[in-house]
């Protein structure tokens, strides 16, 4: 059963009086527990596709079904609820909230779910344990290294136990050692929790870990390779 089903997806952006086609007739399915990546040069449509799967954007035509929900048909609130409960995001620049502690950053998405303080604390500490940062719970983001910050971002995306994690160039700002550390952590979470990970990347290090590589070029799928 596919977690993500994409059929004839076209995404156009208005540019001046015309438009720019970012995605052009994409057909893809991703199953539960996949560790897959969208690869391709800048402007190939990786991030746009990730944003549509993440319900931050909508297709111009075609359909994108995520966890049995059609992204085109979701209201703002329904899309937010889908992201909040079922989809985790990891960004290139970590994007931790600088005035809050590590604990509070990880806790944020649970605050939106009206979970009791006790349950929140338990979930946050477990997420920090997954990424090996329980001792940094009270630290502020400016006291963390790049690798630690990205691990906090992973904990933040995983704390709500989502079905899907979308990671946009998660290693772009990290050195080789930290990149491998991060990727190993994500791979472990993928295997242990059976969470679907979908990357947008052009980093060779990331590709080594992926089970499936979908190559995009000019908004089209040019290859879809499953590693065995």
């Amino acid at each position: 059963m596919a977690t993500i089903k994409i059929n004839d997806l076209v995404k156009k952006f208005p540019v001046g009086k015309g438009h720019f086609t970012a995605l052009n007739g994409i057909n893809l399915n991703f199953d539960k527990g996949e560790f897959a990546g969208l690869v391709g040069p800048s402007g190939s449509g990786k991030t746009t596709l990730l944003n549509i799967i993440g319900s931050l954007d909508t297709p111009t035509t075609g359909s994108t079904i995520v966890l049995d929900k059609s992204i085109s048909e979701l209201s703002n609130k329904q899309a937010a609820k889908l992201r909040n409960k079922h989809i985790g995001f990891i960004f290139q620049t970590y994007n931790l909230l600088p005035v809050y502690t590590v604990f509070e950053n990880v806790e944020f998405s649970l605050l939106l779910q009206k979970i009791s303080a006790f349950e929140r604390k338990k979930a946050v500490m477990m997420a920090l344990e997954w990424v090996g940062l329980t001792d940094k719970a009270k630290s502020k983001p400016n006291m963390l290294s790049g690798g630690e910050s990205q691990r906090v971002a992973i904990a933040r995306s995983m704390v709500k136990k989502p079905e899907i994690v979308l990671a946009d160039e998660p290693t772009a700002n990290l050195d080789s050692k930290n990149s491998h550390h991060i990727l190993q952590t994500m791979k472990k979470l993928n295997e242990e929790l059976n969470v679907t990970f979908l990357f947008a990347t052009h980093d060779e290090k990331v590709m080594q870990y992926l089970n499936r590589i979908v190559s995009l070029e000019d908004g089209k799928v040019v290859s879809d390779e499953i590693k065995t």
């Binding site: 944003n51 609130k77 937010a80 889908l82 992201r83 909040n84 994007n95």
Partner: protein, 424 residues
């Protein structure tokens, strides 16, 4: 969530400090200026009431038309009968008669020849009756520089300036030249019991204060007085009550075509006080409007800058599953929290400053030496109940309005468009 927002406000000084400072200053100025203006107007009304206008004043119709000339030939007659009627009809008010007169003050030498002369502005009030409150009302006792209050008929208080200029001291004789109620010449010698300074040149210049019985005798004004002043026993002016007393008195005692019939005027109708008081009442509203407008513009700008600075935060929050309506709501909650903090701080400081000036006042007497208006020498602010909210709510509204306008740009964008703009 509120706790989360509150932590953000406390920790992110650039999010909270400038708005809190702007609101605190705005609210402080609103509270302080309102308290100060109200105090100043109250002081001016109070002084006017005590010395000239009363809370209501009765004069003959002709006297009222020419009162600047102190025309005692047009004074009220049968004053005791009028007073009896007033005390019976309006027992919640205190009624006093006064005589104002002009003349020449003559200071004789040891041979009885004129040593010095100057214009006199005389006031005759009830100083000798055992239950009279006039000396307290006009603050005469506290304004005496040398000597004491007149203790018997034939004694007078004179202006300390005049006394110093001509070397007059308590115990010396002075003579007043003037005209009686019937137009004949009046000469009357008084013994100086003391010298007085009210701190206002309008009141001090050539001032001579005598007991009303002396004035009635000297000016041939037996059972007559220039005016009768009425005061509410609570001590504060109430325009609606004054209006009601005036209407009832005039309907009973005033005859439109009789120029000698008594006519009552309320405080607001005298000495151009109506304009002054109306402006004073409008001033608070104008001030609040200006401060709210100015604060809103500054806070709108601050909100826009804060919003720009926090674009990536909003982007992350969108990605974490917060909808843009909720983000907009939290911006408003933040504004309310910051507005509350700023308004509380501003109100406390404003009230503190008003209280200090209520207790101590500012002495402007040195600036008023040449001012020919009846103005109190010391102005005080007044702490009144409306000061607790007059700046508080505008401060809260300005912050909320400023941030609501700034945050609306975020709210009205499509999520996808917003997410791209938020540079995550």
């Amino acid at each position: 969530m509120i706790k989360f927002i509150f932590k953000g406000i406390l920790r992110d000084k650039s999010r909270s400090l400038l708005p809190v400072i702007v609101i605190s200053i705005g609210v402080f100025l609103t509270v302080f200026m309102s308290g100060w203006m109200k105090g100043v107007f109250t002081d001016m009304i109070d002084m006017s009431a005590k010395f000239q206008t009363g809370h209501v004043k009765i004069m003959t119709r002709s006297y009222a038309e020419n009162q600047n000339q102190l025309p005692n030939d047009l004074a009220l007659l049968n004053v005791e009968e009028i007073l009896t009627g007033l005390n019976s009809d309006y027992p919640d008010m205190e009624w006093v008669k006064r005589i104002n007169f002009g003349g020449l003050l003559d200071v004789p030498d040891e041979n009885g020849e004129t040593r010095a002369q100057g214009p006199a502005a005389g006031r005759a009030v009830d100083l000798l009756s055992p239950n009279s409150t006039e000396a307290d009302r006009m603050n005469i006792t506290n304004s005496i520089v040398k000597g004491s209050l007149p203790g018997k008929q034939g004694e007078a208080l004179i202006s300390n300036d005049f006394a110093e200029r001509f070397g007059v001291k308590p115990g010396d004789d002075i003579t007043i030249f003037g005209s009686t109620m019937y137009g004949s010449m009046m000469f009357k010698t008084f013994k100086v019991s003391g010298t007085i300074s009210f701190g206002s040149s309008f009141l001090d210049r050539g001032a001579i204060i005598i007991d009303i019985s002396d004035a009635q005798l000297a000016l041939d004004m037996e059972d007559a007085s220039s005016e009768i002043l009425g005061y509410f026993k609570e001590g504060t002016y109430d325009d609606m009550r004054a209006d009601s007393v005036k209407t009832s008195f005039n309907s009973m005692y005033s005859i439109a075509d009789d120029e000698f019939s008594p006519k009552m005027f309320k405080l607001r109708e005298q000495n151009g006080l109506d304009d002054l008081l109306t402006r004073g009442e409008n001033m608070s509203g104008i001030m609040v409007f200006i401060f709210v407008l100015a604060m809103s513009i500054v806070l709108w700008n601050t909100g826009l800058l804060g919003g720009l600075r926090r674009y990536s935060e909003y982007g992350v929050r969108l990605a974490l599953g917060e909808n843009k309506g909720h983000i907009y709501k939290t911006i408003i909650y933040e504004a309310i929290l910051i507005g509350l903090i700023g308004s509380i701080v501003g109100t406390i400081f404003g009230l503190g400053a008003c209280y200090y000036l209520q207790e101590n006042g500012i002495d402007f007497s040195s600036l008023m030496k040449n001012v020919n208006m009846m103005m109190p020498p010391v102005y005080r602010a007044v702490v009144s109940p409306e000061l607790f909210y007059i700046g508080f709510f505008p401060g809260l509204i300005a912050m909320t309005l400023g941030n609501a306008l700034a945050g609306y740009a975020i709210y009205k964008r499509k999520t996808a468009q917003l997410f791209k703009e938020l540079e995550v």
